[in-house]
Subunit: 335 residues, 2 copies
């Protein structure tokens, strides 16, 4: 059987039971943004690892070495943010093709290290090796969180309000521009920048982790259409999403108009937003949103409501049921 | 500047200063088999990560999926063993080319999981993605050790006796057989097995870690000719090695005779032995060796003596100075 037939999620379903055996007490394996291990006292160790492969996750001709270094770390920091954690150390493995030169690597490290310094995440080790094919970047990032503040994907309950911490679709729009050529104006440059230099919502994650009313949290890596289904699966619930409520930036709205893109498809399934998706207890939702707005001077945006399991993921627009044309992506199936 | 011009060690020298900034108190970054982080009380967290790239580290046609899964974990466990630690969790990232099927992955996981179960190392997470080129395997392994028992590369002092915990060159011989075709007899099959299913010397590492007289330790991954130089560099010393004392297995000795190999070159620079190399205080060396032999029913083999920095790495044979024809390998230079 070929991988394309079962897809990335089929692969994960097939092999995940292997990851769940022999866990030490207090540990949690795959199924969330990070694994959790016992740490000092009430602290827990968080571990996340991501592999970026040239041709699958990035095109070397389309992203600067500096941005790629930055992004490689940022997407892992986003996983730590999603648990409400603080990153503590990073480990880098690089598989380097023969046509990468030292100047390229200098820039790559400068981009990675710039973010590492800003977020105080020391780069503590790694491995470098030759690759006969694509450039391969693997980051493993450790973090820590207090046991009572860790937010999982599994805590959402029917009635919870669903929020996101930032605009959706900018990164997906940026990718379309990159694949089509070059940005033609400042709006398009802003979208490309969102794709190439995503910001991990570490401060937002830490703030939300401090609110007991936040029942579930994860980062938006594949688009809410895909990621919300993971919360639904882990929490055993459904969701109703108001497509009109998805927060869309000015640059994306204007660019979508000019280029004839369906903006809500991009917002729901563009992927790589790296903001956070959270389910908040209904009776505390308004207070949490107000507190977030005070703390970050921008809104926590409500996009929907957690529903019962049988409901699945339902979209609405103008009060009516609506459908999305495009679904979240699968590395193995779309290749 | 191309990577081939500066080589793997040049690359590490160029970028390692970036890994040494902003370390938390009690932490240690690159330069040893594992990074070290503060953990609970007197315990320390060990972290190691290794990337294996098809075509560079293995040929998919020449190693079974099961052995490759086993070996991917084993080489990381060896780094934990080298610090005197106990492995506690593993994280796997896989970049999978389109021609790898589900049956292959089943076998790969079975090999990895078999070793993980035996050594009680839960596989706690990871990442799977498509690779447009070679199969890429990245393992990150966490471990723990008591602070006073961790053995670094930097503790060797002139006069210390140098030991290895197992025979040398079997794996290098096995690789030659693999590259030349198939094993022709039981001896050759044993060498191939040493290459494909190396054993991490975890019990030996833990035992040596408990001996205060063990001043420095590392695992033999590139061959003692290369690895001993790393201990010398970190400890600021030289070394004198008796080529006649390098422990060589019966299968390797007989195969080398039949195939016309220079056995001591293989023993010194064949690589991937994954036994341990240790420097032991002169006045306690004999007692440590006796204790090791009692504990493991095989000898701790003395191969030389730590000398002063100016001496460099000198080889002797029959009491006279000798030279090695071949040096340890460099992924970037030999490609």
């Amino acid at each position: 059987m070929k991988l394309g037939e079962i897809g990335e999620f089929g692969l994960i379903r097939r092999f995940s039971p292997r990851f769940l055996r022999g866990l030490p007490p207090g540990a949690m394996g795959i199924g969330d943004d990070c694994a959790i291990l016992p740490w000092i006292g009430s602290r827990r160790l968080l571990v996340t690892t991501d592999m970026l492969v040239e041709g699958t996750h990035f095109l070397r001709a389309k992203i600067s070495a500096r941005d790629l270094g930055y992004k490689s770390l940022a997407v892992n920091l986003s996983d730590i943010a999603a648990m409400g954690g603080r990153p503590t150390a990073a480990f880098l493995s690089l598989g380097i093709p023969g046509d990468v030169d030292v100047a390229w690597l200098d820039s790559f490290f400068a981009g990675l290290q710039g973010l590492a310094r800003r977020e105080r995440v020391p780069l503590l080790g790694g491995d470098t090796t030759r690759s006969s094919g694509p450039l391969v970047i693997n980051l493993a990032v450790l973090g820590e969180a207090k046991v009572g503040r860790i937010k999982l994907r599994s805590g959402a309950r029917p009635g919870d309000a669903i929020y996101v911490t930032g605009p959706l679709g900018d990164s997906g729009g940026g990718l379309r521009i990159i694949l089509a050529g070059r940005p033609r104006n400042r709006d398009e440059a802003a979208l490309v920048r969102s794709h190439s230099r995503p910001r991990a919502h570490l401060a937002e994650g830490a703030w939300l982790a401090g609110r007991a009313a936040v029942m579930a949290m994860m980062d938006v890596s594949d688009g809410i259409d895909s990621d919300l289904r993971r919360i639904m699966e882990r929490s055993g619930c459904g969701a109703a999403v108001d497509l009109d409520a998805l927060p869309v930036s000015g640059p994306l709205r204007r660019t979508a108009l000019r280029r004839g893109w369906k903006v809500r498809e991009l917002a729901a399934a563009g992927g790589e937003d790296y903001c956070l998706l959270a389910a908040v207890r209904k009776d505390r939702a308004a207070a949490v949103a107000r507190g977030f707005a005070r703390a970050f001077s921008r809104p926590l945006v409500r996009i929907g409501t957690v529903t019962r399991a049988g409901d699945g993921l339902r979209y609405f627009s103008g009060g009516e049921r609506a459908e999305l044309a495009r679904r979240g992506f699968d590395h193995f199936k779309r290749g």
